[in-house]
């Protein structure tokens, strides 16, 4: 398996096949003498903008503090939760609890549902 070609930027889906963003970063643990180990998949946020330019990464962190769902640390999914690596990465998590949908829910609550006919994200 190749990390960049087969894992990075792949679509992430949760138990109910709900889209929860794309793999925007991969965290690897480097030991002194142990083999490097892939520990987490990072979703969205600064990790994404970092890849274009560090300054963009910092900027997005600042903006995220100003408004939106104020979230302390980026959303990380432990690799052990990855069930299959295929067309998508199937994760053994619940999208809403994982925090990957914070923005989706925030926009839904603060904007979309205020507009008539927007419906409510609670109903499935």
């Amino acid at each position: 398996m190749h990390l960049i070609r087969d894992v990075l930027d792949k679509q992430l889906v949760d138990r109910q096949d709900c889209n929860m963003g794309r793999a925007s970063g991969l965290i690897v643990h480097l030991g002194e003498s142990t083999q490097p180990r892939l520990t987490h998949v990072v979703i969205g946020g600064p990790a994404l903008w970092m890849r274009i330019h560090p300054s963009l990464g910092k900027l997005s962190t600042k903006l995220a503090r100003l408004w939106g769902p104020k979230r302390k640390e980026p959303v990380k999914i432990p690799w052990s939760r990855v069930k299959t690596v295929g067309k998508d990465l199937k994760l053994d998590v619940d999208a809403k609890e994982s925090g990957a949908l914070d923005w989706e829910l925030w926009i839904a609550r603060h904007i979309i549902e205020r507009i008539p006919g927007g419906g409510s994200e609670e109903e499935e």
């Binding site: 679509q11 926009i107 419906g119």
Partner: protein, 404 residues
């Protein structure tokens, strides 16, 4: 049976994407200035588009990826983001032009100036996106779009000289006014080969849950749909060449374009033109707004479907809401839609490589398409599209400035 219904996807893609303010104005200008001489460009554009659309559908049917999905996966976020910026700028300009087309059609029907229509029109487009389902937009737009057949009727009634029509399908250069000729040619190409068509079509294929069994159907849909669109804009060019050129009319403004069919169909020509523009531009506006929202949603991996309730794919709905409302602003500030159209069409063909080069990689990717990869013919066509559009744009636009 369901697959037969899928033809509507092809037709809406062509009516919405092919015959819109862009192709009508460029074709009308071409006919009014150069007679049949530019017909070959429309033919060329149509052929290229048929290939590109077929590929977009094939990619979706085989790999279950839309073009944008695949682009983000293969080329990574930084490159994707770069393309996103380019595509969204151009698509936004085109959206402004389409809304302008609707507003102008309403102006000539009611006499109320188009800036007043800008906001109501964009609200209506938004409402359809907000409430409508994909199949509603698909079928509704393609049914209403059938009005545009009146262009063909008009062209036939004016009794064109078929031999010279046929002759003009072979590229030729004019004796004078070459710069203008090149510029209109570029705009026609931009009007026919619009990338957002490919994004829309491949997303549509996913929304309609295509699989490998659709590959033959996809060929038919792409072929017939785009040919339909191509015929229509050729008809516009012919009608302009016969009705406007003898009077020395140049289509610089929309009211002038509205006279296109008044000689061919005295009783209904004017109203048919207005309605055709109304519906065609409406279809296009819906299609472009969707394409932009798809681009964001798929690129970032959000939920996206025109069939979900807005709150189920909030970010998707948020994007098109913002885009559509923003698009109304320039029109309210009385920006001339025809100017926007010409600029955006030329820009489209100048930025075509940005959209098509990555597409060429994807269509040759064994991991996505396996044995359904592009053959050398398709690859050659894509290569030609890239070269042609770009070279034409880079050569003729400066020429236009210098004045030939």
């Amino acid at each position: 049976m369901k697959k037969i219904l899928q033809l509507t996807l092809g037709i809406v893609t062509s009516v919405g994407g092919f015959l819109e303010i862009g192709s009508v104005t460029t074709a009308a200008q071409a006919g009014a200035r150069f007679g049949y001489q530019l017909l070959w460009v429309i033919l060329l554009g149509t052929v290229c588009l048929i290939f590109l659309i077929e590929m977009a559908g094939r990619l979706a049917a085989v790999s279950k990826h839309t073009i944008v999905d695949a682009m983000r996966e293969r080329f990574g976020f930084p490159f994707f983001f770069f393309v996103l910026i380019g595509m969204v700028i151009v698509a936004f300009l085109v959206l402004v032009a389409e809304l302008g087309g609707i507003a102008f059609a309403l102006q000539i029907l009611t006499g109320i100036r188009f800036p007043w229509w800008a906001l109501p029109v964009s609200l209506l487009v938004w409402l359809l996106m907000w409430k409508g389902t994909f199949s509603l937009i698909e079928n509704g737009a393609s049914l209403l779009g059938l009005v545009t057949i009146s262009f063909v009727v008009a062209a036939f009634k004016l009794g064109p000289d078929w031999s010279s029509v046929g002759a003009s399908l072979v590229p030729t250069l004019p004796d004078s006014d070459k710069a203008n000729y090149g510029f209109i040619a570029v705009s026609i190409l931009g009007a026919s080969i619009s990338p957002y068509l490919m994004y829309f079509y491949s997303s549509g294929a996913i929304e309609d849950k295509w699989d490998r069994s659709y590959i033959p159907m996809n060929r038919i849909i792409a072929g017939s749909g785009m040919t339909f669109g191509g015929f229509l804009s050729m008809a516009v060019l012919v009608a302009a060449a016969l009705a406007l050129r003898p009077k020395g009319l140049q289509v610089d403004t929309f009211p002038q374009a509205a006279l296109l069919m008044t000689t061919a169909l005295p009783r209904w020509g004017f109203y048919l033109f207005a309605l055709s523009m109304l519906f065609a531009c409406f279809g296009a506006a819906l299609e472009i707004s969707l394409a932009i929202a798809y681009f964001f949603a798929q690129g970032f991996g959000w939920n996206w479907s025109e069939d979900l309730q807005p709150s189920q794919d909030a970010r998707f709905a948020f994007v098109y809401t913002i885009i559509i409302l923003l698009a109304a602003v320039p029109l309210m500030l009385r920006v001339d839609p025809i100017k926007v159209t010409m600029v955006s069409m030329a820009l489209t063909s100048a930025t075509l490589p940005l959209a098509i080069v990555p597409f060429l990689f994807l269509m040759n990717d064994p991991l996505y398409l396996g044995k359904h990869r592009n053959g050398w013919i398709s690859n050659t066509v894509v290569a030609i599209v890239i070269l042609l559009s770009f070279v034409l744009a880079v050569i003729s636009i400066p020429l236009q400035i210098i004045g030939g």
